[in-house]
Symmetry: C2
Subunit: 414 residues, 2 copies
């Protein structure tokens, strides 16, 4: 019998009626002859509500306690779903991350899975139960404390369980039909992708596509788990995330992602000496500030500007740790620009197709969009633009590469 | 350093501001040089809200899942309290019942503690932490599933921890100043007791005094844990529950309890043969229906009526299991009376003072209250009366024994 892992996000289990609908779908998969493991997030805005309560108690709540607090949300949704299944005549058992054997390091708030021991899950499956597992949570191997995997961690829970149990597929249910060539709210003719490779999905996720979290895709790639991203509101096929060789479409470009959550920080007049940049970024790393794009200009008069992007919420913290350092190394000063957006073009095919970046820059120029920073990987080109130009930029790039529903055949024929 | 266990109920941690106030009190006890273990219930109406969600999902939710659901309430309050303490500069760690080593049997919804292994609690205390433990919850020794100890189970958690840790005292914080000679809402001059013996407290709790749950008192008596019942809204001394020999007051009567939550069920015309009553009550026991008072009249014409009281919510279930049996044994029929109340007079001194029951019946008669059933123990006399006469009955008995604030000296002088 095949094992199917299904993950339902907070919107899908947002209230009692939606939990009943999820139960109908799970029951259908179970009756179709599958062993089903369901991973659930907390209901709707529960996690936000809990965070807000914590912030009313303390400005800096201890992370160990925050993890205990937040995991109560999944506890509610998982037990309610088990009840709804029982009510439909389907025996179900729910387990916390700890009970399901999701063993992590001790980094509260963004723990990493270091082992999977889902013996109780397998036993319950063998007894004919549907198994429900709390997403997002685990238990620290060293301290035995409850940990969380960070926002979106339920995706990782699902993929990790699918891997550990040898599941046929990991279905990630969401409120959209799959992965699109661009955000359909910005590009109305954006096309749903039938298949996307792990590498492309990684780049799309890292560059702002919110449908899957980066770490879950990494886990899927490293453990060869097929991920089916699909809607919990319909039965249509979504997007299959898998190895490159499955990609029969062979398109050059898979999509355009955008991200408006970052800010740009520039350290001006940095002395152009070996080791200075290293000190800058090791200082930021010690403060656990996640840096994204980095650009360093050519030095003039022995000095250079170093710019990088980072989550907007971390700019104050970055400024605080960098200011003593800039004084010490004799840099000019720190500039922060919060009104930026990142637009990224992703596609495995661009590896073998030169000129993709040039075509993208040309399209942006023609649309009157100024490029502030550029960063590339083998399958991605990202640019930073002014925040108020993000929609124009996404639409221009999407159209230039003919990614839309009407245009894709023409593009394929070129 | 003395270990103090403090338990705060749902009202005491009812909202964020109240949690902060509890944190102030805990911090004060900690700074006073004590090792403090705090047991918390779920915030305010959380448990009721969760039960109501469950009932919207299923009429008969599986008890294993209901226990998982309900324990999320304590998880929220315990982590928030830990945050509030950290915010006050007091290091605190919260633990679930399972983490705190509260080992139970596998009877979901009303599990019994069968072992205590609070190693993690002791370690955290030794490291200088205040320890917060989720009340009401444990973990099954056999299935490793999460269990709950039943409503009011947080009191039991607190007393059990106090015993296992060798605490100096177990303080139960509530919204009243202690244990009273009667419910002050019914008897305005009811007097707070400074001390009450375990046995008397057991009888008072069993007979409807809601300030402490029976099982926690039993646990305290069996393991010799001093229980201090006091208000979380003031710093005045409450009522100390302890061994009989401590009782310096030496009052004949400690108080009048009443209970309006029961109904009376009568099986009429039961054949007066050996074994018939045993079958009746073993059938009820198998259906896990808790029976309280039982009265059997003298048989006439080979038949008798058997009456008993039970929680009002269980009368339908009791009728359902008894109806086939009454047919089989040829009994006459089943009568249910939901409009009853139980009034109990409790006092260790009545063992050696004959005439207490007679004086109580006389007072009720003088007040025009008819007695429907009578049940006694060595330190208690209980009567069942019509529900609409409960206040009259409590007031009459309280006054007859001079238990009020103005009358107690007079009584003592008699």
């Amino acid at each position: 019998m095949a094992i199917v892992v299904q993950k339902y996000g907070g919107t899908s289990v947002g209230d009692v009626d939606r939990i009943k609908r999820v139960a109908d779908r799970v029951a259908r998969t179970h009756r179709g002859g599958n062993q089903v493991v369901v991973v659930v997030s907390a209901m709707g805005k529960t996690t936000d509500d809990l965070v807000s309560m914590a912030s009313r108690i303390s400005e800096t709540p201890p992370e160990r306690e925050l993890d205990i607090l937040l995991t109560s949300g999944e506890r509610i949704s998982m037990s309610l779903l088990a009840m709804a299944l029982a009510d439909r005549g389907v025996a179900a058992k729910s387990f916390t991350g700890s009970q399901a054997g999701i063993i992590t390091d001790a980094v509260h708030g963004k723990a990493r899975i270091i082992d999977m021991t889902p013996g109780r899950v397998q036993d319950a499956l063998d007894q004919g139960h549907v198994v429900i597992v709390a997403g997002f949570s685990g238990v620290s191997q060293s301290t035995k404390d409850i940990t969380t995997l960070g926002r979106g961690g339920s995706d990782t829970t699902a993929v990790a369980l699918a891997s550990a149990l040898g599941a046929e597929v990991c279905e990630i249910y969401t409120d959209v039909d799959g992965v699109f060539t661009a955000d359909p709210r910005i590009v109305p003719n954006a096309r749903k992708l039938d298949h996307v490779s792990y590498e492309e999905m990684l780049e799309l996720a890292a560059q702002g596509a919110k449908v899957l979290m980066v770490r879950s895709v990494e886990f899927g790639r490293n453990h060869d788990v097929r991920i089916h991203v699909r809607s919990s509101f319909s039965y249509t096929t979504g997007t299959m995330v898998g190895p490159q060789e499955d990609n029969v479409e062979d398109a050059i470009i898979s999509g355009v992602a955008h991200d408006t959550s970052e800010a740009k920080l520039t350290v001006q007049g940095v002395p152009d000496r070996p080791g200075v940049a290293a000190r800058l970024f090791s200082t930021l790393a010690e403060a656990t500030i996640n840096i994204d794009m980095i650009v360093q200009n050519i030095a003039a008069d022995g000095r250079t500007d170093i710019s990088f992007t980072l989550p907007r919420g971390e700019t104050d913290k970055a400024r605080a740790v960098l200011e003593p350092l800039t004084d010490e190394i004799g840099a000019g000063g720190i500039l922060v620009d919060s009104d930026i957006a990142k637009v990224s073009l992703v596609g495995a095919g661009m590896k073998t197709h030169p000129g993709v970046a040039a075509k993208m820059f040309g399209a942006l120029s023609a649309a009157g969009v100024n490029i502030e920073m550029i960063s590339t990987s083998t399958i991605r080109v990202s640019v930073v633009v002014a925040k108020d130009q993000v929609e124009t930029a996404v639409q221009a790039v999407h159209a230039a590469f003919g990614l839309g529903d009407d245009e894709v055949l023409a593009e394929g024929a070129r």
